[in-house]
Amino acid sequence: MPMKIIASTCSACSACEPECPNVAIREKNGTYIIDPKKCTDCEGHYDEPQCVAVCPVDGCIVSV
């Protein structure tokens, strides 16, 4: 169940990008996207998905 950034609510603050242990997050067209092939929900790295924990907009990053 990879994570997904809902572009319409993303403020493009970039906080999630450096936190991703899988380097799955990058900027695209003024917003950030998660590569679902690389995302592991941070399992094996951390207790919780890092992007969700650091994102300032509630509900912006969801599990798909």
Binding site: C13, S14, V54, P56
Partner: protein
């Protein structure tokens, strides 16, 4: 300066010089501060951050602050700063902050129109510095946290130092990441660090910070506030030990940390902070912040002043912070960021000429000295009356610079407020207002908002004012005074006050207390037409 450029200002913010605070606690075993008047306590005549000169502080400290508009009240009339928005990410959430909001008329920390890469930022700084030779200071102040984006912040500094080595660097941070990055800060010769500290008691902090991101976890509640508090204090102590000048910003949130800020002041002073800047909460539902949505209000002018006065105990204040945007450019109180968007920068031919900048700044310095001496002379001639009576009132002043009463009432977008007694006139803050006069015509709908903004003042000193607004001000109990045109503000204020006293003494008028004033929130609604 055309009033249409005055979009970057906010009113009534204060620097309380920490040296004025009496310590209630025993001195702690703490690192020795790198110097500065703020740490010497006592009843020093003037303190750092006032318009006072080099007599009041060690030369190496004076050297660091004299041309820094955010650290010296006097310098901010002559030298400019800019912020570059290279640091959008943040590692904590504050209930008064929403970085998604942007409006070009909005002036608040955290607001930007355009985020920049470090490369773009350096290009912009060099272009601005060539165009505005009195621009001496570059700050990274978000829109997030400078130290939550260490690579972007320090890359910017590194590249800039290669191209424009004369520009002073500063950062603004919430302090969470600070202890880990003090070495980096020193490595890039960052002169000044601002830490936003709103509490020294996690129980208070809990109401301000819903969460922090710490050690790969989202931490909430009391635990979050405790960690943040400990990191802030540690970071401040480490900076003090390394001799980096530290300013503390505190947001005054009525009912949450108002009286508590006195405790904050004591704790940061103890740890060597150089200045304390107490700012009013900016809170409107339209900003989309937690406080805006829950209806948490900002302080009134007198609530703000009460906390500031409790923190400083009498003498010299520094109260010129305008809570500027994270991409502001120019003198404090003006914002020229529109002139330097990335599109426009692409068109500019930039030659960074250190010599030219130096020459210009030398000229600024001569002007500044001349102005300083002229003001001292005028004040000495005004010879304030030595009396023991404790009557003191506030007066609003319409000025467009030079320390003189020289602006028309209708053109003011920002009044300066002075506290006047028989013996002194003391600058205590700014009040931002919507301009009364639009395109040559007075806007009667605007007047009540102007009155509210200066409602705690007994008089307003102006270069000129129409009969209509003058009558309306009189009706509201504010005397509009236009006979001190071109005078130095302090001299005019003292002369008016002595006249006021003599009128009371002769029975011509009765002194009455004024009410409270409103601190203006939100964006300008009407600028640019008049110019």
């Amino acid at each position: 300066m055309p009033s249409s450029t005055m979009t970057g200002s906010m009113p009534a913010t204060t620097y309380v010089s920490i040296g004025q605070i009496k310590s209630l606690h025993e001195a702690l075993e703490l690192p020795q501060p790198g110097g500065g008047c703020g740490t010497e306590g006592g009843e020093g005549k003037a303190s750092c951050g006032t318009s006072a000169g080099p007599d009041d502080m060690p030369p190496e400290i004076w050297d660091k602050v004299k041309n820094h508009p955010c650290y010296s009240e006097e310098a901010h009339h002559h030298y400019a700063r800019m912020h570059v928005a290279v640091a959008p990410a943040c590692n904590i959430q504050c209930n008064y902050c929403n970085r998604k909001y942007d409006c070009s008329n909005e002036s608040r920390p955290g607001v930007v129109s355009q985020k920049l890469t470090p490369e773009q930022a350096v290009k912009k700084v060099v272009a601005v510095a060539s165009e505005i030779p009195q621009m001496t200071v570059l700050g990274v102040a978000g829109p997030g946290d400078a130290l939550a984006n260490p690579a972007k912040t320090f890359d910017t500094f590194r590249m800039l130092q290669e191209q424009a080595p004369d520009i002073k660097l500063c950062i603004s941070t919430n302090g969470l990441a600070l202890p880990d990055l003090v070495d980096e800060i020193c490595k890039y010769n960052v002169d000044h660090v601002t830490i936003t500290i709103n509490m020294v008691d996690p129980k208070v902090g809990e109401k301000i910070y819903p969460w922090i991101f710490w050690n790969h976890k989202r931490v909430t509640g009391l635990e979050a506030a405790t960690i943040l508090h400990e990191r802030q204090m540690l970071g401040l102590e480490m900076l003090t030990a390394r001799g980096v000048l530290t300013k503390i910003n505190s947001v005054l949130i009525p009912g949450i940390n108002d009286e508590h800020l006195i405790e904050v002041n004591r704790e940061v002073k103890k740890r060597g902070a150089f200045l304390h800047n107490i700012m009013p909460l900016i809170s409107e539902a339209e900003h989309g912040t937690v406080f805006g949505l829950t209806g948490q209000r900002g302080p009134t002018a007198s609530e703000l002043k009460a906390v500031q006065d409790a923190c400083m105990g009498g003498a010299n204040l520094m109260r010129h912070c305008r809570q500027c945007r994270a991409d502001a450019v120019g003198l404090l109180g003006e914002d020229r960021s529109d002139e330097f968007t990335m599109d426009k920068l692409e068109q500019m031919e930039v030659v960074y000429d250190l010599g030219k900048r130096k020459t210009y700044q030398d000229k600024v310095e001569i002007e500044r000295q001349a102005q300083h001496s002229a003001k001292q002379e005028a004040l000495a001639a005004a010879s304030a009356i030595k009396v023991s009576e404790d009557l003191q009132v506030l007066v609003a002043v319409a000025t467009k610079g030079g320390g003189r009463v020289n602006e028309h009432f209708g053109h003011v977008t920002e009044f300066q407020v002075f506290q006047v007694s028989a013996s002194q006139a003391l600058f205590v803050g700014h009040r931002r207002v919507d301009q009364y006069c639009q395109g040559g015509v007075g806007d009667d709908e605007q007047l009540p908002s102007v009155v509210r903004a200066i409602n705690d003042c007994h008089a307003v000193l102006v270069a000129k004012i129409g009969a209509c607004p003058k009558d309306d001000l009189t009706a509201a109990g504010i005397e509009a005074v236009d006979q001190y045109v071109g005078e130095f503000i302090e001299k005019a204020a003292l002369e008016w006050f002595n006249d006021y006293r003599s009128r009371i003494a002769s029975g011509a008028i009765t002194h009455q207390d004024r009410g409270d004033a409103q601190i203006r929130q939100g964006a300008f609604t009407s600028v640019a037409e008049a110019a």
